[in-house]
Protein backbone atom coordinates (compact mmCIF):
# COMPACT_ATOMS: atom_id res chain seq x y z
CA UNK A 1 0.00 0.00 0.00
CA UNK A 2 1.00 3.61 -0.54
CA UNK A 3 0.82 5.84 2.48
CA UNK A 4 0.18 9.46 1.55
CA UNK A 5 1.42 11.43 4.52
CA UNK A 6 0.57 15.08 5.07
CA UNK A 7 2.95 16.40 7.66
CA UNK A 8 5.39 19.02 8.84
CA UNK A 9 8.91 19.32 7.50
CA UNK A 10 11.25 17.06 9.46
CA UNK A 11 8.64 14.66 10.81
CA UNK A 12 9.33 11.97 8.21
CA UNK A 13 13.09 11.74 7.64
CA UNK A 14 14.18 9.85 4.57
CA UNK A 15 16.02 7.20 6.59
CA UNK A 16 12.94 6.48 8.65
CA UNK A 17 10.88 6.12 5.54
CA UNK A 18 13.45 3.79 4.09
CA UNK A 19 13.36 1.62 7.18
CA UNK A 20 9.58 1.63 7.26
CA UNK A 21 9.32 0.71 3.60
CA UNK A 22 11.83 -2.08 4.09
CA UNK A 23 10.00 -3.45 7.08
CA UNK A 24 6.37 -3.20 5.99
CA UNK A 25 6.52 -3.14 2.20
CA UNK A 26 4.38 -0.01 2.08
CA UNK A 27 5.61 3.00 0.20
CA UNK A 28 5.41 6.47 1.65
CA UNK A 29 4.73 9.72 -0.15
CA UNK A 30 5.29 12.80 1.95
CA UNK A 31 3.73 16.20 1.48
CA UNK A 32 5.00 18.86 3.83
CA UNK A 33 2.64 21.52 4.97
CA UNK A 34 1.44 23.53 7.97
CA UNK A 35 -1.72 23.51 10.03
CA UNK A 36 -3.78 25.81 7.89
CA UNK A 37 -2.86 24.18 4.65
CA UNK A 38 -3.35 20.69 6.00
CA UNK A 39 -6.87 21.57 6.98
CA UNK A 40 -7.49 23.49 3.78
CA UNK A 41 -6.33 20.62 1.64
CA UNK A 42 -8.43 18.10 3.50
CA UNK A 43 -11.35 20.40 3.32
CA UNK A 44 -10.95 20.78 -0.42
CA UNK A 45 -10.73 17.04 -0.85
CA UNK A 46 -13.48 16.47 1.65
CA UNK A 47 -11.07 14.41 3.69
CA UNK A 48 -9.50 12.60 0.79
CA UNK A 49 -6.19 12.61 -1.00
CA UNK A 50 -4.17 11.67 2.09
CA UNK A 51 -4.06 8.73 4.42
CA UNK A 52 -2.49 10.33 7.46
CA UNK A 53 -2.16 13.94 8.57
CA UNK A 54 -0.42 15.68 11.45
CA UNK A 55 -2.11 18.93 12.46
CA UNK A 56 -1.67 20.35 15.95
CA UNK A 57 -4.05 19.03 18.55
CA UNK A 58 -5.77 22.34 19.17
CA UNK A 59 -6.99 22.57 15.58
CA UNK A 60 -8.70 19.20 15.26
CA UNK A 61 -12.06 19.35 16.98
CA UNK A 62 -13.15 22.61 15.43
CA UNK A 63 -12.14 21.48 11.96
CA UNK A 64 -14.03 18.27 12.45
CA UNK A 65 -17.07 20.13 13.61
CA UNK A 66 -17.05 22.41 10.63
CA UNK A 67 -15.92 20.19 7.81
CA UNK A 68 -16.06 16.59 9.01
CA UNK A 69 -12.76 15.77 7.39
CA UNK A 70 -11.40 13.20 9.82
CA UNK A 71 -12.31 9.72 10.89
CA UNK A 72 -12.10 8.55 14.52
CA UNK A 73 -9.04 6.69 15.71
CA UNK A 74 -9.52 2.94 16.11
CA UNK A 75 -7.58 2.47 19.34
CA UNK A 76 -7.55 -1.26 18.81
CA UNK A 77 -5.10 -0.78 15.96
CA UNK A 78 -2.80 1.47 17.94
CA UNK A 79 -0.13 0.16 20.21
CA UNK A 80 -1.02 2.46 23.11
CA UNK A 81 1.93 1.35 25.15
CA UNK A 82 4.27 3.24 22.90
CA UNK A 83 2.72 6.59 23.96
CA UNK A 84 3.44 8.55 27.10
CA UNK A 85 0.08 8.04 28.85
CA UNK A 86 -0.38 11.61 30.03
CA UNK A 87 0.09 12.98 26.54
CA UNK A 88 -2.11 10.33 25.02
CA UNK A 89 -4.96 11.21 27.31
CA UNK A 90 -4.42 14.96 27.09
CA UNK A 91 -4.56 14.74 23.32
CA UNK A 92 -7.55 12.46 23.42
CA UNK A 93 -9.29 15.00 25.59
CA UNK A 94 -8.56 17.88 23.28
CA UNK A 95 -9.47 16.05 20.09
CA UNK A 96 -12.76 14.54 21.08
CA UNK A 97 -15.75 15.56 19.04
CA UNK A 98 -19.19 14.08 19.61
CA UNK A 99 -17.70 11.40 21.79
CA UNK A 100 -15.12 10.14 19.30
CA UNK A 101 -11.37 10.60 19.62
CA UNK A 102 -9.66 11.91 16.52
CA UNK A 103 -6.05 12.53 17.46
CA UNK A 104 -2.95 10.74 18.78
CA UNK A 105 0.03 12.75 20.02
CA UNK A 106 3.27 12.61 18.07
CA UNK A 107 5.68 15.50 18.44
CA UNK A 108 5.53 18.25 20.98
CA UNK A 109 7.41 21.43 21.45
CA UNK A 110 7.08 25.11 22.04
CA UNK A 111 7.13 28.43 20.37
CA UNK A 112 9.20 31.12 21.96
CA UNK A 113 12.13 33.29 21.06
CA UNK A 114 15.21 32.49 19.06
CA UNK A 115 17.81 35.11 19.80
CA UNK A 116 21.33 35.91 18.75
CA UNK A 117 22.48 36.59 22.31
CA UNK A 118 25.64 38.32 21.21
CA UNK A 119 23.76 41.20 19.64
CA UNK A 120 20.28 40.98 21.09
CA UNK A 121 20.80 39.62 24.56
CA UNK A 122 18.20 42.02 25.89
CA UNK A 123 15.39 40.20 24.09
CA UNK A 124 13.78 38.00 26.72
CA UNK A 125 10.09 38.38 26.04
CA UNK A 126 7.84 38.62 22.99
CA UNK A 127 7.35 42.35 23.31
CA UNK A 128 11.09 42.89 23.43
CA UNK A 129 11.04 42.20 19.70
CA UNK A 130 9.60 45.68 19.35
CA UNK A 131 12.56 47.27 21.10
CA UNK A 132 14.36 49.95 19.16
CA UNK A 133 17.71 48.24 19.67
CA UNK A 134 16.75 45.46 17.27
CA UNK A 135 14.89 47.61 14.76
CA UNK A 136 14.79 46.08 11.29
CA UNK A 137 16.36 42.83 12.47
CA UNK A 138 13.34 41.09 13.88
CA UNK A 139 11.02 38.52 12.45
CA UNK A 140 7.94 36.58 13.47
CA UNK A 141 5.09 34.83 11.73
CA UNK A 142 1.90 36.64 11.02
CA UNK A 143 -0.12 33.77 12.49
CA UNK A 144 -2.14 33.10 15.61
CA UNK A 145 0.77 31.98 17.87
CA UNK A 146 2.21 35.47 17.56
CA UNK A 147 -1.05 37.02 18.72
CA UNK A 148 -1.20 34.69 21.68
CA UNK A 149 2.47 35.08 22.64
CA UNK A 150 2.24 38.87 22.54
CA UNK A 151 -0.99 38.80 24.54
CA UNK A 152 0.69 36.86 27.36
CA UNK A 153 3.68 39.12 27.21
CA UNK A 154 1.36 42.09 27.57
CA UNK A 155 -0.07 40.59 30.72
CA UNK A 156 -3.26 39.26 29.17
CA UNK A 157 -4.61 35.70 29.24
CA UNK A 158 -5.97 34.79 25.83
CA UNK A 159 -6.59 31.10 26.51
CA UNK A 160 -8.80 32.04 29.41
CA UNK A 161 -10.84 34.19 27.09
CA UNK A 162 -11.31 31.47 24.47
CA UNK A 163 -14.95 30.97 25.32
CA UNK A 164 -15.79 34.63 25.66
CA UNK A 165 -15.79 36.13 22.24
CA UNK A 166 -16.02 39.71 23.38
CA UNK A 167 -13.21 39.38 25.87
CA UNK A 168 -11.11 37.64 23.28
CA UNK A 169 -11.84 40.36 20.77
CA UNK A 170 -10.69 43.04 23.15
CA UNK A 171 -7.47 41.12 23.77
CA UNK A 172 -7.00 40.90 20.06
CA UNK A 173 -7.55 44.62 19.70
CA UNK A 174 -4.83 45.38 22.20
CA UNK A 175 -2.43 42.98 20.56
CA UNK A 176 -3.27 44.46 17.20
CA UNK A 177 -2.29 47.91 18.41
CA UNK A 178 1.03 46.62 19.71
CA UNK A 179 1.86 44.62 16.64
CA UNK A 180 0.90 47.45 14.35
CA UNK A 181 3.20 49.71 16.23
CA UNK A 182 5.90 47.07 16.16
CA UNK A 183 5.69 46.67 12.43
CA UNK A 184 8.57 48.97 11.48
CA UNK A 185 10.85 46.80 13.59
CA UNK A 186 10.11 43.73 11.52
CA UNK A 187 12.34 42.78 8.65
CA UNK A 188 9.94 40.25 7.20
CA UNK A 189 7.26 37.89 8.40
CA UNK A 190 8.58 34.40 8.11
CA UNK A 191 6.67 31.44 6.83
CA UNK A 192 8.64 28.22 6.99
CA UNK A 193 11.00 26.79 9.60
CA UNK A 194 14.08 26.79 7.43
CA UNK A 195 13.38 30.29 6.27
CA UNK A 196 13.71 31.78 9.74
CA UNK A 197 16.76 29.65 10.39
CA UNK A 198 18.42 31.06 7.29
CA UNK A 199 17.57 34.59 8.29
CA UNK A 200 19.05 34.09 11.74
CA UNK A 201 22.08 32.24 10.54
CA UNK A 202 22.98 34.87 7.96
CA UNK A 203 22.61 37.55 10.58
CA UNK A 204 19.90 39.34 8.69
CA UNK A 205 17.64 38.71 11.69
CA UNK A 206 18.90 38.75 15.27
CA UNK A 207 15.78 38.02 17.25
CA UNK A 208 12.68 36.20 16.31
CA UNK A 209 9.62 34.47 17.59
CA UNK A 210 10.06 30.90 16.44
CA UNK A 211 9.91 27.25 17.28
CA UNK A 212 12.31 25.94 19.87
CA UNK A 213 13.77 23.39 17.54
CA UNK A 214 15.02 26.04 15.12
CA UNK A 215 16.90 27.73 17.90
CA UNK A 216 18.55 24.53 18.99
CA UNK A 217 19.60 23.57 15.50
CA UNK A 218 21.18 26.98 14.97
CA UNK A 219 22.93 26.67 18.29
CA UNK A 220 24.89 23.75 16.97
CA UNK A 221 26.45 26.01 14.31
CA UNK A 222 26.61 29.25 16.22
CA UNK A 223 26.66 29.10 20.02
CA UNK A 224 25.46 32.71 20.21
CA UNK A 225 22.09 31.76 18.80
CA UNK A 226 19.68 29.81 20.89
CA UNK A 227 16.11 29.34 21.93
CA UNK A 228 14.96 31.44 24.81
CA UNK A 229 11.81 30.61 26.72
CA UNK A 230 10.07 33.98 27.01
CA UNK A 231 9.32 35.42 30.42
CA UNK A 232 5.60 35.34 29.67
CA UNK A 233 5.89 31.62 28.91
CA UNK A 234 6.60 29.53 25.86
CA UNK A 235 3.56 28.29 23.94
CA UNK A 236 3.28 24.52 24.08
CA UNK A 237 1.92 22.55 21.17
CA UNK A 238 1.45 18.91 20.33
CA UNK A 239 1.33 17.77 16.74
CA UNK A 240 -0.81 14.71 16.28
CA UNK A 241 -1.73 11.87 14.03
CA UNK A 242 -5.18 12.07 12.48
CA UNK A 243 -6.85 9.95 9.84
CA UNK A 244 -8.43 11.90 6.97
CA UNK A 245 -12.04 10.88 6.55
CA UNK A 246 -11.45 9.30 3.20
CA UNK A 247 -7.97 7.97 3.55
CA UNK A 248 -7.59 4.72 1.64
CA UNK A 249 -4.67 3.19 3.48
CA UNK A 250 -5.70 3.09 7.11
CA UNK A 251 -3.66 -0.02 7.77
CA UNK A 252 -0.54 1.56 6.44
CA UNK A 253 -1.34 4.64 8.50
CA UNK A 254 -1.63 2.63 11.69
CA UNK A 255 1.52 0.76 10.73
CA UNK A 256 3.31 4.07 10.34
CA UNK A 257 2.05 5.31 13.71
CA UNK A 258 3.13 2.19 15.49
CA UNK A 259 6.43 2.21 13.65
CA UNK A 260 7.50 5.78 14.36
CA UNK A 261 6.48 5.62 17.99
CA UNK A 262 9.07 2.97 18.69
CA UNK A 263 11.69 4.56 20.94
CA UNK A 264 14.63 4.25 18.51
CA UNK A 265 12.64 5.63 15.61
CA UNK A 266 11.21 8.39 17.75
CA UNK A 267 14.74 9.36 18.69
CA UNK A 268 15.72 9.53 15.05
CA UNK A 269 12.82 11.85 14.39
CA UNK A 270 13.73 13.99 17.35
CA UNK A 271 17.24 14.26 16.02
CA UNK A 272 16.10 15.53 12.63
CA UNK A 273 13.03 17.51 13.61
CA UNK A 274 14.62 18.80 16.76
CA UNK A 275 11.52 18.24 18.87
CA UNK A 276 10.77 15.55 21.38
CA UNK A 277 8.09 13.00 20.71
CA UNK A 278 5.30 11.50 22.74
CA UNK A 279 6.99 8.10 22.58
CA UNK A 280 7.81 6.31 25.77
CA UNK A 281 11.59 6.40 26.15
CA UNK A 282 11.77 8.45 23.00
CA UNK A 283 14.41 10.68 24.54
CA UNK A 284 16.68 7.79 25.37
CA UNK A 285 18.39 7.71 22.02
CA UNK A 286 18.42 11.48 21.56
CA UNK A 287 21.81 13.10 21.24
CA UNK A 288 23.24 14.51 24.38
CA UNK A 289 23.78 17.87 22.66
CA UNK A 290 20.11 18.28 21.96
CA UNK A 291 19.23 17.38 25.51
CA UNK A 292 21.72 19.90 26.76
CA UNK A 293 20.29 22.60 24.55
CA UNK A 294 16.80 21.74 25.71
CA UNK A 295 17.91 22.02 29.27
CA UNK A 296 19.70 25.27 28.54
CA UNK A 297 16.48 26.79 27.26
CA UNK A 298 14.08 25.36 29.80
CA UNK A 299 14.65 25.38 33.50
CA UNK A 300 11.89 23.90 35.61
CA UNK A 301 10.21 27.28 36.05
CA UNK A 302 10.11 27.75 32.35
CA UNK A 303 8.67 24.30 31.87
CA UNK A 304 5.99 25.00 34.39
CA UNK A 305 5.28 28.29 32.67
CA UNK A 306 4.58 26.69 29.27
CA UNK A 307 1.17 27.70 28.02
CA UNK A 308 -0.35 24.66 26.35
CA UNK A 309 -2.80 25.37 23.54
CA UNK A 310 -6.36 24.41 24.40
CA UNK A 311 -8.61 23.40 21.52
CA UNK A 312 -9.63 26.38 19.45
CA UNK A 313 -13.37 26.92 19.55
CA UNK A 314 -15.00 27.13 16.15
CA UNK A 315 -15.30 30.68 14.86
CA UNK A 316 -12.42 32.09 16.87
CA UNK A 317 -10.02 31.85 13.98
CA UNK A 318 -12.20 34.18 11.96
CA UNK A 319 -11.64 36.89 14.57
CA UNK A 320 -7.94 36.23 14.63
CA UNK A 321 -7.83 36.26 10.87
CA UNK A 322 -9.42 39.67 10.74
CA UNK A 323 -6.93 40.97 13.27
CA UNK A 324 -4.00 39.52 11.38
CA UNK A 325 -5.30 41.06 8.17
CA UNK A 326 -5.51 44.47 9.78
CA UNK A 327 -1.99 44.20 11.12
CA UNK A 328 -0.84 43.16 7.71
CA UNK A 329 -2.56 46.10 6.09
CA UNK A 330 -1.50 48.72 8.59
CA UNK A 331 1.11 51.16 7.46
Amino acid sequence: ETLRLLTWGGYAPDEVIAMFEAETGHTVEVTTSNNEEMIAKLRATNGGGFDLAQPSQDRIASAQEEFGIYKPIDMSKVNAELFIPSMLSATAGNTTYEGEVYGLPHVWGTSGLVVNTAVAGNVTDYTDLCDASVAGQVSYRLKRPTLIGFAYSMGLDPFAAYDDTDAYQSILDEVEATLTECKPNVKTYWDGGDEIQNLLRSGEVVASMAWDTGGWQLNADNPDITFVAPEAGALGWIDTFVLPARGRADDAAYDWINFVMQPEIAAMITNTAGNFTAAVDGDAGVSADLKARYQGSFDQAAIDNIKWYPPVPAGLEALEGATLDRINAAN
Partner: protein
Protein backbone atom coordinates in the same frame (compact mmCIF):
# COMPACT_ATOMS: atom_id res chain seq x y z
CA UNK B 1 -18.15 16.28 -49.79
CA UNK B 2 -21.86 15.79 -49.30
CA UNK B 3 -23.36 18.11 -46.81
CA UNK B 4 -24.25 15.27 -44.41
CA UNK B 5 -20.71 14.23 -43.70
CA UNK B 6 -19.50 17.79 -43.45
CA UNK B 7 -22.27 18.52 -40.93
CA UNK B 8 -21.09 15.55 -38.93
CA UNK B 9 -17.49 16.76 -39.15
CA UNK B 10 -18.60 20.17 -37.97
CA UNK B 11 -20.29 18.79 -34.89
CA UNK B 12 -17.30 16.58 -34.16
CA UNK B 13 -15.13 19.69 -34.20
CA UNK B 14 -17.62 21.66 -32.16
CA UNK B 15 -17.88 19.07 -29.39
CA UNK B 16 -14.40 19.41 -27.83
CA UNK B 17 -14.41 23.20 -27.69
CA UNK B 18 -17.88 23.30 -26.19
CA UNK B 19 -16.93 20.67 -23.65
CA UNK B 20 -13.80 22.58 -22.77
CA UNK B 21 -15.40 25.99 -22.50
CA UNK B 22 -18.59 24.93 -20.81
CA UNK B 23 -17.18 22.43 -18.35
CA UNK B 24 -13.91 24.13 -17.49
CA UNK B 25 -14.63 27.81 -17.92
CA UNK B 26 -18.29 28.73 -17.92
CA UNK B 27 -19.81 26.38 -15.37
CA UNK B 28 -16.96 26.82 -12.87
CA UNK B 29 -17.36 30.57 -13.03
CA UNK B 30 -21.07 30.27 -12.52
CA UNK B 31 -20.31 27.96 -9.63
CA UNK B 32 -17.84 30.47 -8.26
CA UNK B 33 -20.47 33.14 -8.41
CA UNK B 34 -23.03 30.96 -6.67
CA UNK B 35 -20.60 30.24 -3.86
CA UNK B 36 -19.67 33.91 -3.63
CA UNK B 37 -23.25 34.83 -2.86
CA UNK B 38 -23.70 32.34 -0.08
CA UNK B 39 -22.96 33.60 3.38
CA UNK B 40 -21.81 31.41 6.16
CA UNK B 41 -24.01 31.82 9.21
CA UNK B 42 -22.76 28.91 11.26
CA UNK B 43 -20.94 25.61 10.96
CA UNK B 44 -22.25 23.94 7.77
CA UNK B 45 -25.03 26.52 7.47
CA UNK B 46 -25.28 28.99 4.61
CA UNK B 47 -27.76 31.42 3.15
CA UNK B 48 -27.84 33.42 -0.05
CA UNK B 49 -26.90 37.06 -0.01
CA UNK B 50 -24.34 39.61 -1.02
CA UNK B 51 -22.76 39.73 2.41
CA UNK B 52 -19.36 38.70 1.09
CA UNK B 53 -19.36 41.56 -1.36
CA UNK B 54 -20.52 43.86 1.39
CA UNK B 55 -17.63 42.62 3.53
CA UNK B 56 -15.26 43.54 0.75
CA UNK B 57 -16.52 47.09 0.56
CA UNK B 58 -16.78 47.67 4.28
CA UNK B 59 -13.34 46.30 5.16
CA UNK B 60 -10.76 48.87 4.05
CA UNK B 61 -8.05 46.21 4.05
CA UNK B 62 -9.75 44.34 1.26
CA UNK B 63 -10.52 47.11 -1.10
CA UNK B 64 -7.26 48.87 -0.40
CA UNK B 65 -5.34 45.74 -1.28
CA UNK B 66 -7.53 45.43 -4.30
CA UNK B 67 -6.78 48.97 -5.41
CA UNK B 68 -3.12 48.58 -4.58
CA UNK B 69 -2.89 45.44 -6.67
CA UNK B 70 -4.62 47.12 -9.57
CA UNK B 71 -2.46 50.21 -9.42
CA UNK B 72 0.77 48.30 -9.04
CA UNK B 73 -0.20 46.08 -11.95
CA UNK B 74 -0.90 49.08 -14.11
CA UNK B 75 2.42 50.62 -13.10
CA UNK B 76 4.19 47.33 -13.83
CA UNK B 77 2.49 47.22 -17.23
CA UNK B 78 3.53 50.75 -18.05
CA UNK B 79 7.10 50.08 -16.92
CA UNK B 80 7.28 46.93 -18.94
CA UNK B 81 6.06 48.79 -22.00
CA UNK B 82 8.55 51.60 -21.54
CA UNK B 83 11.45 49.24 -20.95
CA UNK B 84 10.42 46.70 -23.55
CA UNK B 85 9.57 48.94 -26.46
CA UNK B 86 13.12 50.09 -27.25
CA UNK B 87 14.26 46.49 -27.05
CA UNK B 88 11.54 45.26 -29.37
CA UNK B 89 12.27 48.10 -31.73
CA UNK B 90 15.96 47.31 -31.66
CA UNK B 91 15.34 43.66 -32.43
CA UNK B 92 12.74 44.29 -35.09
CA UNK B 93 14.25 47.20 -36.93
CA UNK B 94 17.93 47.52 -36.17
CA UNK B 95 19.13 43.94 -36.40
CA UNK B 96 19.06 41.41 -39.19
CA UNK B 97 19.45 37.72 -39.72
CA UNK B 98 21.35 35.80 -37.12
CA UNK B 99 21.70 38.64 -34.62
CA UNK B 100 17.99 39.19 -34.74
CA UNK B 101 17.21 35.54 -34.08
CA UNK B 102 19.74 35.38 -31.28
CA UNK B 103 18.47 38.46 -29.50
CA UNK B 104 14.91 37.31 -29.93
CA UNK B 105 15.78 33.93 -28.47
CA UNK B 106 17.56 35.60 -25.60
CA UNK B 107 14.36 37.42 -24.76
CA UNK B 108 12.60 34.09 -24.58
CA UNK B 109 15.05 32.51 -22.17
CA UNK B 110 13.35 33.69 -18.97
CA UNK B 111 10.15 32.17 -20.25
CA UNK B 112 11.79 28.80 -20.52
CA UNK B 113 12.27 28.50 -16.78
CA UNK B 114 9.58 28.70 -14.20
CA UNK B 115 8.64 31.90 -12.54
CA UNK B 116 9.68 30.35 -9.30
CA UNK B 117 13.25 29.98 -10.47
CA UNK B 118 13.36 33.53 -11.78
CA UNK B 119 12.02 34.90 -8.53
CA UNK B 120 14.40 32.75 -6.59
CA UNK B 121 17.22 34.29 -8.61
CA UNK B 122 16.08 37.76 -7.68
CA UNK B 123 15.96 36.77 -4.03
CA UNK B 124 19.57 35.66 -4.19
CA UNK B 125 20.50 38.92 -5.86
CA UNK B 126 18.54 41.37 -3.77
CA UNK B 127 18.74 40.09 -0.22
CA UNK B 128 20.80 41.86 2.39
CA UNK B 129 23.47 39.21 2.23
CA UNK B 130 22.90 38.84 -1.49
CA UNK B 131 25.02 39.38 -4.55
CA UNK B 132 24.17 43.00 -5.27
CA UNK B 133 24.57 44.12 -1.70
CA UNK B 134 27.96 42.42 -1.52
CA UNK B 135 29.02 43.81 -4.86
CA UNK B 136 28.12 47.34 -3.79
CA UNK B 137 30.05 46.93 -0.57
CA UNK B 138 33.00 45.52 -2.45
CA UNK B 139 32.97 48.45 -4.82
CA UNK B 140 32.81 50.80 -1.89
CA UNK B 141 29.51 52.34 -2.95
CA UNK B 142 27.99 51.58 0.44
CA UNK B 143 29.60 50.75 3.76
CA UNK B 144 27.10 48.31 5.20
CA UNK B 145 24.83 45.67 3.79
CA UNK B 146 21.78 47.02 1.99
CA UNK B 147 18.44 45.30 2.00
CA UNK B 148 16.76 45.43 -1.39
CA UNK B 149 14.37 42.59 -0.88
CA UNK B 150 10.98 42.78 0.81
CA UNK B 151 9.67 45.99 -0.67
CA UNK B 152 7.51 47.20 -3.52
CA UNK B 153 10.45 48.05 -5.72
CA UNK B 154 11.58 44.44 -5.52
CA UNK B 155 8.08 43.38 -6.55
CA UNK B 156 8.26 45.72 -9.53
CA UNK B 157 11.62 44.33 -10.57
CA UNK B 158 10.23 40.83 -10.36
CA UNK B 159 6.97 41.61 -12.13
CA UNK B 160 8.67 43.41 -14.98
CA UNK B 161 11.16 40.61 -15.30
CA UNK B 162 8.47 37.97 -15.35
CA UNK B 163 6.38 39.70 -17.95
CA UNK B 164 8.78 41.55 -20.22
CA UNK B 165 8.82 38.69 -22.69
CA UNK B 166 5.08 38.93 -23.16
CA UNK B 167 5.54 42.55 -24.07
CA UNK B 168 8.56 42.18 -26.29
CA UNK B 169 7.28 39.28 -28.40
CA UNK B 170 4.06 40.86 -29.67
CA UNK B 171 5.89 44.15 -30.14
CA UNK B 172 8.60 42.52 -32.19
CA UNK B 173 5.97 40.78 -34.26
CA UNK B 174 4.06 43.94 -35.04
CA UNK B 175 7.13 46.08 -35.53
CA UNK B 176 8.56 43.46 -37.84
CA UNK B 177 5.50 43.80 -39.98
CA UNK B 178 6.10 47.53 -40.27
CA UNK B 179 7.64 47.98 -43.67
CA UNK B 180 10.94 49.89 -43.48
CA UNK B 181 9.86 51.86 -46.48
CA UNK B 182 7.13 53.49 -44.39
CA UNK B 183 9.78 54.84 -42.05
CA UNK B 184 11.90 55.86 -44.98
CA UNK B 185 8.92 57.57 -46.54
CA UNK B 186 8.47 59.43 -43.26
CA UNK B 187 12.03 60.73 -43.39
CA UNK B 188 11.79 61.40 -47.07
CA UNK B 189 8.81 63.66 -46.43
CA UNK B 190 10.83 65.62 -43.90
CA UNK B 191 9.83 63.85 -40.67
CA UNK B 192 12.06 63.83 -37.58
CA UNK B 193 12.75 60.74 -35.48
CA UNK B 194 10.21 61.77 -32.86
CA UNK B 195 7.45 62.62 -35.28
CA UNK B 196 7.96 59.37 -37.16
CA UNK B 197 7.86 57.45 -33.91
CA UNK B 198 4.68 59.20 -32.90
CA UNK B 199 2.86 59.26 -36.20
CA UNK B 200 4.01 56.09 -37.92
CA UNK B 201 5.67 53.57 -35.65
CA UNK B 202 3.46 53.74 -32.59
CA UNK B 203 0.13 53.75 -34.46
CA UNK B 204 1.32 50.75 -36.39
CA UNK B 205 2.48 48.96 -33.26
CA UNK B 206 -0.76 49.65 -31.44
CA UNK B 207 -2.20 46.14 -31.68
CA UNK B 208 1.07 44.75 -30.33
CA UNK B 209 1.21 47.33 -27.59
CA UNK B 210 -2.33 46.57 -26.55
CA UNK B 211 -1.97 42.82 -26.62
CA UNK B 212 1.34 43.06 -24.76
CA UNK B 213 -0.22 45.33 -22.17
CA UNK B 214 -3.23 43.08 -21.69
CA UNK B 215 -1.10 40.02 -21.16
CA UNK B 216 1.35 41.79 -18.85
CA UNK B 217 -1.44 43.36 -16.87
CA UNK B 218 -3.18 40.01 -16.46
CA UNK B 219 0.04 38.31 -15.46
CA UNK B 220 0.80 40.97 -12.87
CA UNK B 221 -2.69 41.13 -11.49
CA UNK B 222 -2.91 37.38 -11.19
CA UNK B 223 0.61 36.94 -9.91
CA UNK B 224 1.08 35.22 -6.60
CA UNK B 225 4.67 34.13 -6.30
CA UNK B 226 6.46 37.37 -6.99
CA UNK B 227 4.66 39.54 -4.44
CA UNK B 228 4.74 36.74 -1.87
CA UNK B 229 8.41 36.01 -2.22
CA UNK B 230 9.86 39.42 -3.02
CA UNK B 231 7.38 41.62 -1.24
CA UNK B 232 7.78 42.90 2.26
CA UNK B 233 5.51 43.00 5.24
CA UNK B 234 3.37 45.72 3.67
CA UNK B 235 3.29 44.21 0.22
CA UNK B 236 -0.17 42.73 0.05
CA UNK B 237 -1.42 41.30 -3.20
CA UNK B 238 -5.00 40.49 -3.96
CA UNK B 239 -4.30 36.99 -5.16
CA UNK B 240 -2.51 36.35 -1.88
CA UNK B 241 -5.65 37.50 -0.17
CA UNK B 242 -7.73 35.04 -2.16
CA UNK B 243 -5.30 32.31 -1.29
CA UNK B 244 -5.54 33.30 2.36
CA UNK B 245 -9.32 33.15 2.30
CA UNK B 246 -9.30 29.76 0.69
CA UNK B 247 -6.44 28.17 2.54
CA UNK B 248 -5.77 29.88 5.84
CA UNK B 249 -9.26 31.04 6.66
CA UNK B 250 -11.24 28.20 5.05
CA UNK B 251 -13.58 30.92 3.88
CA UNK B 252 -14.39 29.80 0.36
CA UNK B 253 -17.39 32.06 0.22
CA UNK B 254 -15.48 35.27 0.75
CA UNK B 255 -12.61 33.92 -1.34
CA UNK B 256 -15.02 33.29 -4.20
CA UNK B 257 -16.36 36.80 -3.92
CA UNK B 258 -12.80 38.11 -4.06
CA UNK B 259 -12.14 35.96 -7.05
CA UNK B 260 -15.14 37.33 -8.80
CA UNK B 261 -14.17 40.87 -8.01
CA UNK B 262 -10.69 40.27 -9.37
CA UNK B 263 -12.22 38.85 -12.51
CA UNK B 264 -14.48 41.85 -12.82
CA UNK B 265 -11.54 44.17 -12.29
CA UNK B 266 -9.40 42.51 -14.89
CA UNK B 267 -12.23 42.43 -17.40
CA UNK B 268 -12.97 46.07 -16.72
CA UNK B 269 -9.38 47.21 -17.14
CA UNK B 270 -8.97 45.16 -20.30
CA UNK B 271 -12.24 46.49 -21.63
CA UNK B 272 -11.33 50.09 -20.89
CA UNK B 273 -7.88 49.57 -22.35
CA UNK B 274 -9.33 48.16 -25.55
CA UNK B 275 -11.86 50.95 -25.82
CA UNK B 276 -9.27 53.65 -25.23
CA UNK B 277 -6.92 52.22 -27.81
CA UNK B 278 -9.76 51.35 -30.21
CA UNK B 279 -8.61 47.77 -30.54
CA UNK B 280 -10.61 44.58 -30.37
CA UNK B 281 -9.80 41.58 -28.25
CA UNK B 282 -10.12 39.26 -31.18
CA UNK B 283 -7.66 41.21 -33.26
CA UNK B 284 -5.06 41.90 -30.63
CA UNK B 285 -5.05 38.61 -28.79
CA UNK B 286 -5.83 36.45 -31.76
CA UNK B 287 -2.49 37.21 -33.27
CA UNK B 288 -0.12 36.64 -30.35
Amino acid sequence: MTSDTSRLGFYLLLAPILLWLVVLIILPHIGLFVVSISEKIGPREYETGFGNYAAFFTEPLYWRTFARTAIMSIVATALTLILGFPIAYYIAKLTRGRTKTTLFLMCMIPFWVSELVRTFGWMILLRETGVISNALQYLGVVDGPVEMLYNDAAIMVGLVYTSILFMVVPLVTTLDSLDDSLIEAGYDLGGSSTSIMREIVIPHAMPGIVSGCIVVFMLSLGNYLTPILLGGKDSLWFTGMIYTQFITRFNWELGSAFGFLLLALSSLVVFVGLKLSRQSLTETMGRT
